[in-house]
């Protein structure tokens, strides 16, 4: 297969993770927040696959499949919550839900 230096793959995973983090910090829409979480999870999976390809073992890909499962579970519950928030507050603003004044 291709002879790509390992640090370039890890650097790409880091860049994608940081982009997801910026999106998570900046956006206020609940749907965009969930999308940024997906970007971050995907970047973490990419780092695992890069490491698995480096050592020629299947473990990295198996961890990616667990991350995939977790992302699917998280996004289904998160989107159901987003629908509830929209029906109740008529807005997708994450700040609209801050009713619990603690």
């Amino acid at each position: 297969m291709a002879s790509i230096p390992m640090h370039q793959g890890l650097l790409l995973a880091g860049i994608l993770f940081a982009l997801g983090l910026v999106g998570l910090l900046v956006r206020r829409n609940v749907v965009f927040t969930l999308m940024s979480l997906e970007i971050m999870l995907n970047a973490a999976g990419l780092a695992f696959v890069v490491a698995g390809a480096r050592w020629g073992q299947a473990d990295g890909q198996i961890v990616f499949m667990f991350i995939l499962t977790m992302a699917a579970a998280e996004v289904s519950v998160g989107l159901a919550l987003a629908l509830r928030i929209y029906h109740r507050f008529k807005s997708l603003d994450a700040d609209a839900v801050s009713e619990m004044k603690g």
Partner: protein
Amino acid sequence: MEIVFYIAAIVAVASTIMAISRLNPVHALLYLILSLLSVAIIFYVLGAPFVAALEVIIYAGAIMVLFVFVVMMLNLGQRAVDMERQWQRGSMWIGPSILALVLIAEVAYLVAGPGTASYGGAAIEPKQIGIALFGPYLIGVELASMLLLAALVGAYHLGRRTPEKTEK
């Protein structure tokens, strides 16, 4: 093969930047699907064809279709774009971008140190993955199935329509 990796990496970073900065949710979703597909190409180049197929089928297929359905159900239109434009000011991007750049610089410094290695091995076949998945990682598979069941029950409970009188 190397040039495919670099082109796919550039496409992935550019489409992710577009995905987190668009105002219209549907445009952002399409850019995010593009980003996931380019990551799938990277997986294929790295010798992980099975995971590349999973990325296309489950991430770009199933999970993004969920997002598209929810955006369609919410029926967001021009009003949502106007609201996003009101929320997004240019100055909001400065702080998080600087912090993320610092993190990226640290990661680049750490991974580009001495003793970097290249990939030389062959592709990892799906058979190897299956043997490892149902051998040493069997407990993980069971836990993943329980997690999916919990997510199914949770999503059903949250998505259920409750009568108005039990609301509040």
